[in-house]
Amino acid sequence: MLNLSAKILAMGIGLALALSAAQAQVKGDATKAKALVDTVCIACHGADGNGPVPMFPRLAGQSAEYLLKQMQDFKNNKRPGEIMAPNVANLSADDMANLALFFAGQKAVPAPVGDPTLVTRGKKLFDDGNAASGVPACSGCHGANGEGSSLYPRVAAQHVEYTIDQIKQFASGKRKNDKRLMQAVATRMSEDETRAVAQYLASLP
């Protein structure tokens, strides 16, 4: 009895610690990231994180906590990244923190919208979700304008192709570094909903 409560207490404390670590502010120096940005990141993500290649995510304005976690996850094989893994392999903890702060400090520019007719439908799903299938409103976690938070990534101004690809990766279980939340959501999203919401996200600043 005592043992069990102690276990639960320890579990609770452990979880709380893990969470506070995830929420801890990223400490570093964005100005020290410039050399790496201009040699390593620029080709795919652009000099200011507003890269032009649809399959590679926009990073500008993304939360530093999220960026740092993704780099760590690529490095530790917790997120599949055939392209990213070799690029982060040689980065130090300081490099990653500096890069995270650099891209977090850049201004996001809306991405190209391929099919404007889908934007309204995408906004509806983003704002309201789909009660029947159990897709929550995306805005619940990602913010009313897709701006994200320290725990949930910014999704506004993202490339259409990248968003679609990630939702599909979550749905198929290929990507699962998300505390299962997006996996659950993605498995409930239809092809049409995925395409529509991706268009809407691209259109957001």
Binding site: G140, K179, A184
Partner: protein, 244 residues
Amino acid sequence: MKFIAVIPILFALGSLPAWADALQQPRAPGIESKGYVWNKPNKEQIFALKHKADPVKGKAAYRVCQGCHKPDASGRGDADYPQLAGQHTTVLIKQLVDVRAGKRDNPKMHPFVGEWAVTTEEISDIAAYLNSLPIPTTNSKGDGKHLDRGFAVYEKSCADCHGDAGEGYGDKFYPMVASQHYAYLLYESLQIREGTRRNANPKMVRIIKKYSDEDLQAVADYMSRLPPPVGKLAPATVADPGKK
């Protein structure tokens, strides 16, 4: 050649079920089981009930809920998402942990209340935050045609536990039913009557068994129209009391 073709199949067979299982709600013993006690808190519930809750932390943790239950915790009248604002903390903790443990079946909600989504402390914090919220009366209502019948059923069979004004009784895990969505009240009443709400109070199952669908529609309509307890009404709805 043959060997190479087999690898992806093995991979799919080996990895996919494990991954899919992780997203499934577990099934804990419920009302169908011997020795079932509906209101006996499990270890986690005891911990959450005793925890010194912080509504500010609860607001932050509620983020993962609001995609469905809405930022003002008003839920959705067009489906079966209950209004949570102003609900008793004890009720919220019990229901959240029951869904988490698989004692109340809700596969739709389960991924968002698993231990990967919220800690036990956060469950307690979320409950305190929701309890502090004013209650909107924009909840869905029934057709209003059988409110006399609804009133009669309520007074006869519901008021003893849920209170004359539908305010519930937190100490006993009896939920507030006033200003709850009609669709949700009806859905849950039917589930309880059919025995598929597996964390129900057996006493309520016995009582509700004798009522027809029409009775339950009428009483759900009646409860949905009961105003929130004094001081719990959302300010935005005070100015518009006639709104249905």
